[in-house]
């Protein structure tokens, strides 16, 4: 009873507060592997704070969409985050068919981000937007195939029971395949290596970063915050498939969740340190592979 009240609050709190930590962890890991000291763990928080205090420089070519985009993106991501259960605890919002809403919220965010990119009238932003929408076509298929596996596993159409289903069953091949596929999607959706390199400012390589070249000040802050949150939410989703364990004690489970999240960030960091970015023309193949993994998982479920 008490937890029914407190869990959603914790959920909300983590969702709002924790995301910037993940990029920090990732950067720290990469620095550690590279043998550097690296930026402080909380650097992303500082950056966002700094940006929010700054003034804005806005291109005269742009319209209201340019400024609405970061806000809407953040809002959509936040709402999506409220649909995903953290750890073994039900999500604050859950109802039949919310998985579709979850997927389409990111679509909404994408619509605004890419429109804002085109709004600047710069060729770089346009290029990034084109890549974003192109890759999304492939990754969405992968996501839904992965979710189909969970639907069939759980027999329900809401993210909370779906994602908590692996707890009941011991991890099987289909779930692991889906997890692998979704992990790839996670990397590409958050523009991490091997799909995209968030650190370079060489526009030729970039998808997400290049779309926000002309945002500045608070808007840029919102964008960074939003992308961190996206990473957080998707990681939380994938965790359910990768490590379907829980202790049973709420407090312990929350701690476990935190540990898992940080570990996840560490894993991403390791991937980034040990892998090179793919050539742009190979990315579709990678995403197709992700869809195939999930699809194969579904086929295994059926047979």
């Amino acid at each position: 009873m008490f937890y029914n009240v407190i869990n959603p609050l914790i959920h909300l709190g983590l969702l709002v507060a924790m995301p910037p930590l993940l990029p920090g962890v990732i950067n720290k890991t990469k620095a550690f592997v590279a043998g550097r000291k690296g930026p402080p763990l909380l650097q992303p928080y500082f950056d966002i704070y700094k940006l929010l205090r700054k003034d804005m420089v806005i291109s005269s070519a742009t319209t209201w969409i340019f400024q609405a985009a970061p806000v809407v993106t953040l809002a959509a991501t936040l709402l999506a985050g409220l649909l995903v259960p953290f750890g073994p605890f039900a999500a604050p919002i859950h109802f039949t068919g919310d998985l579709i809403l979850f997927v389409y919220l990111f679509g909404l965010a994408r619509f605004f981000t890419t429109s804002a990119a085109l709004d600047t009238g710069s060729s770089f932003e346009g290029m990034g937007a084109a890549r974003e929408v192109t890759f999304a076509c492939l990754s969405e298929a992968a996501v839904l195939l992965g979710l189909l596996v969970l639907v069939r596993l759980s027999g329900s159409f809401s993210l909370t029971p779906m994602l908590l289903a692996p707890l009941a069953h011991p991890p099987e091949a289909p779930v692991l395949l889906a997890a692998a596929g979704l992990f790839i999607v996670l990397l590409s959706e958050n523009c991490r290596i091997p799909v995209d390199d968030p650190n370079t400012h060489l526009e030729l390589t970039m998808i997400h970063e290049v779309m926000v070249l002309d945002h500045s000040g608070p808007l840029l802050g919102l964008i960074n915050y939003g992308s961190a949150m996206k990473l957080f939410v998707l990681s939380a989703l994938v965790l359910h498939l990768l490590v379907p364990f829980h202790i049973g004690m709420p407090v312990a489970d929350w701690v476990l969740f935190l540990v898992e999240m940080i570990a996840m960030a560490g894993v991403i960091g390791m991937v980034e340190s040990f892998m090179a970015r793919l050539q742009m023309r190979h990315v579709p193949t990678l995403l197709a592979a992700a869809s195939l993994l999930c699809g194969f998982g579904f086929v295994l479920m059926v047979r």
């Binding site: 420089v57 291109s59 070519a61 319209t63 806000v71 068919g97 060729s123």
Partner: protein, 664 residues
């Protein structure tokens, strides 16, 4: 007491004659147009009254039949929930279109085709009304063809333009092929059902081959009208070349009529074979994905909208196929979600597609070009159109917060339900349509970002944009009304849930469906609440942002774009380049031909990258095929170039031949 039918017939009549008085007035007077519009208004009001009487009467279907002096059949009309669901868009789009035309297609500005246009406009709508009202095969066919022919004359409004003529010709062939398929279909239907009365169910004793033939013929005939791939060949040209409010009517209403036929055909067998539904579903998924891929690659914004109509019809067909499968497997949930989703999506599509086409009309009117890459930065010059167009784009992409999402969501839920079917059940594979639908959604985002981004955002790419400005309120009002409709359906879906449920009930009476069970299957109210939240939150954020902007805005300078000294408009990413990467993923399906820059000796020559997007089925398949057949047949021509002796010889030959045949 069938009041609704009488009123509806009266409304139809006033539609049909709405264009007639105009023919009597001079080519340069607006009087005729005023009369026509008033008659249309009258027609729509009557229609709404009829709908209200029907709804207040508790959705009781009514039927009437008068004797007719034709060799068969009678003048039988009827009205039930499905009919009503299809009547609503007809009435709405019809009225808004004619109001829009008051400013968009003034008689004074189009003296030589305005009267013809309005005459056919009324006639076509009357035809569509009769199609959905008809309860007799022959009446149906006649109304159908009146609609089709009037549509032909609407397409060829500007027949001085060769492209328009070509589009009209292709449409006419397609329409006639469809007509012939339907004629055959109805004849077979009468053979099996015993009379031309519609829509009675075929007895199960009828042999398999017969029912299969009926279904396939219906699929061909209705599919051609609905523009499902690969029967879509006429659609892009027709929509792109017709006047914009006509395109809105076609896309928002005429395609629905094709779907209407498919809905009815699903009904004619109590337990249709599984492959009926499966075929519908596969074709639907195919045309959803393929249609949107073609759409993304278009360089003509009306063409893009046209192909996206194909995509939406595909989505509707997925829902329909799902419902038919539900009929086969006695799964009332599939019927509810599939049919409900399909019908809901039809309503939505008839809201946002006309909105987009009318918006396109405004653009065309302001800039005189249909090329996406000639525009840009229109949002500044025509903000209202831009805002409404943006709304339409969000809705048509099925993004949360607007109505498009809800209908797609219903279909998704239905498909997901098949994923948890028993192991050996073939139903499971149906759920593989889910990723297809997802891809469609993503592609839609790509396409409409391209459209909106390259037309309204960024900097202007050509001089056409310079003098663009928002049209008057008379032209904007219809768009605003449609946009409001989108929002209303998004916030209060419960308004039409009863309609959907009773439609499903009328469609599959053997599986009783109640509103309650619908709510448990798909919590539309929850979703609506979230939509409310989204909209309120969004607006709140925007207001807050406005404040922030006041304080934080430092300077407004040209785009930085990595420090280019003087970024010019031609440096922008064009629509063509935006879709190029996607197009390259699908070159196996759509042979986009990029014009490769010519190689210079040492430095490349100045060149620009363009792409032309042929329609694979039409330009690679049908047109060459027809040419080949004609060349073969022309071999026979010389038979008619002979002196009279040879003609006499033909006569002698046939005489001897027949006498010879006599011996056996």
């Amino acid at each position: 007491m069938n009041i609704a039918i009488y009123i509806m017939l009266a409304s139809t009549l006033s539609m049909a004659i709405s264009g007639v008085p105009g023919l009597l007035f001079s080519r340069r007077s607006m009087t005729g147009q005023w009369i026509a519009t008033l008659l249309n208004l009258l027609a729509t009001l009557l229609g709404i009254v009829a709908l209200l009487t029907f709804v207040s009467g508790g959705y009781h279907s009514e039927n009437m039949a008068w004797p007719w002096t034709l060799p068969w059949g009678g003048f039988a009309v009827g009205i039930d929930t499905i009919t009503v669901l299809f009547l609503m868009p007809i009435l709405g789009v019809f009225l808004l279109g004619s109001i829009y035309a008051m400013a968009y297609w003034k008689q004074t500005q189009h003296p030589d085709n305005g009267r013809k246009l309005r005459f056919c406009w009324g006639l076509m709508n009357a035809g569509m009304m009769m199609v959905v009202l008809a309860r007799d095969g022959v009446l149906f066919l006649m109304a159908w063809e009146i609609m089709a022919l009037a549509a032909f004359f609407l397409i060829t409004t500007e027949d001085h333009n060769p492209c328009v003529r070509e589009a009209g010709w292709i449409y006419l062939i397609a329409a006639h092929i469809g007509m012939i398929a339907l004629v055959a279909m109805f004849v077979l239907l009468r053979l099996t059902a015993g009379s031309f009365e519609l829509w009675m169910t075929i007895p199960s004793s009828v042999p398999q081959g017969m029912t299969a033939a009926i279904f396939l013929l219906a699929l061909a005939g209705f599919g051609l009208k609905a523009g499902i791939m690969p029967l879509h060949v006429w659609l892009p040209g027709a929509h792109a070349n017709a006047p914009s409010h006509v395109s809105a009517l076609f896309s928002g209403v005429m395609l629905n009529v094709g779907i209407y036929g498919l809905v009815r055909i699903g009904e004619i067998m109590t337990v249709p074979p599984l492959w009926w539904g499966a075929t519908l579903l596969i074709i639907g998924a195919g045309s959803a994905v393929a249609g949107m891929i073609f759409a993304v690659c278009q360089n003509d914004y009306k063409g893009l909208l046209a192909y996206s109509s194909i995509e939406n019809m595909g989505i509707i067909c997925i829902g329909l196929g799902l419902a038919t499968i539900g009929r086969t497997c006695h799964r009332s949930d599939l019927v509810l979600l599939g049919l409900g989703g399909a019908l809901f999506h039809i309503l939505n599509h008839s809201l946002f597609k006309p909105l987009l086409f009318l918006g396109a009309g405004n653009i065309l009117h302001a800039t005189n070009t249909r090329k996406i890459d000639a525009l840009g930065g229109l949002a500044g010059k025509m903000p209202v159109t831009a805002g409404l167009f943006f709304m339409g784009s969000l809705a048509i992409c099925g993004l949360p917060g607007l109505n498009g999402f809800l209908s797609e969501w219903l279909i998704y839920l239905g498909l997901l339900r098949t994923a948890i079917a028993a192991h050996v059940d073939t139903l499971v594979w149906i759920s593989l349509a889910v990723p297809a639908l997802a891809i469609t959604g993503a592609l839609a985002v790509a396409g409409f970002v391209k459209l909106f981004g390259s037309v309204f955002l960024g900097n202007k790419r050509s001089a056409e944009v310079d003098h663009a400005h928002d049209p008057g309120a008379g032209t904007l009002a219809p768009l605003a009304i449609l946009a409001l409709g989108c929002v209303a359906l998004a916030l209060f879906p419960e308004l039409i849930i009863p309609l959907l449920v009773s439609a499903a009930h009328a469609w599959a009476p053997q599986m009783i469906a109640s509103t309650a069970s619908f709510g448990s299957l798909a919590p539309l109210q929850e979703m609506a609440k979230l939509n409310v939240g989204l909209l309120i939150g969004g607006t709140a954020f925007l207001l807050l942002l406005g404040i922030v902007r006041q304080q934080k805005l430092r300077a407004a300078i040209p785009t930085w774009s990595c420090g280019f000294a003087r970024p010019v408009a031609r440096m922008q990413y064009t629509g063509a380049s935006f879709s190029r990467m996607l197009a390259q993923l699908f070159t196996w399906m759509i042979p986009v031909k990029p014009a490769v820059p010519p190689e210079g000796r040492y430095v490349p020559q100045p060149a620009q990258w363009t792409q032309d997007v042929p329609d694979t089925v039409l330009d690679r398949g049908l047109i060459p095929g027809f040419a080949l057949v004609q060349r073969l047949l022309e071999r026979f021509r010389p038979l008619q170039n002979k002196p009279v002796n040879v003609y006499l010889a033909y006569m002698l030959a046939i005489l001897l031949l027949l006498l010879l045949a006599l011996c056996f």
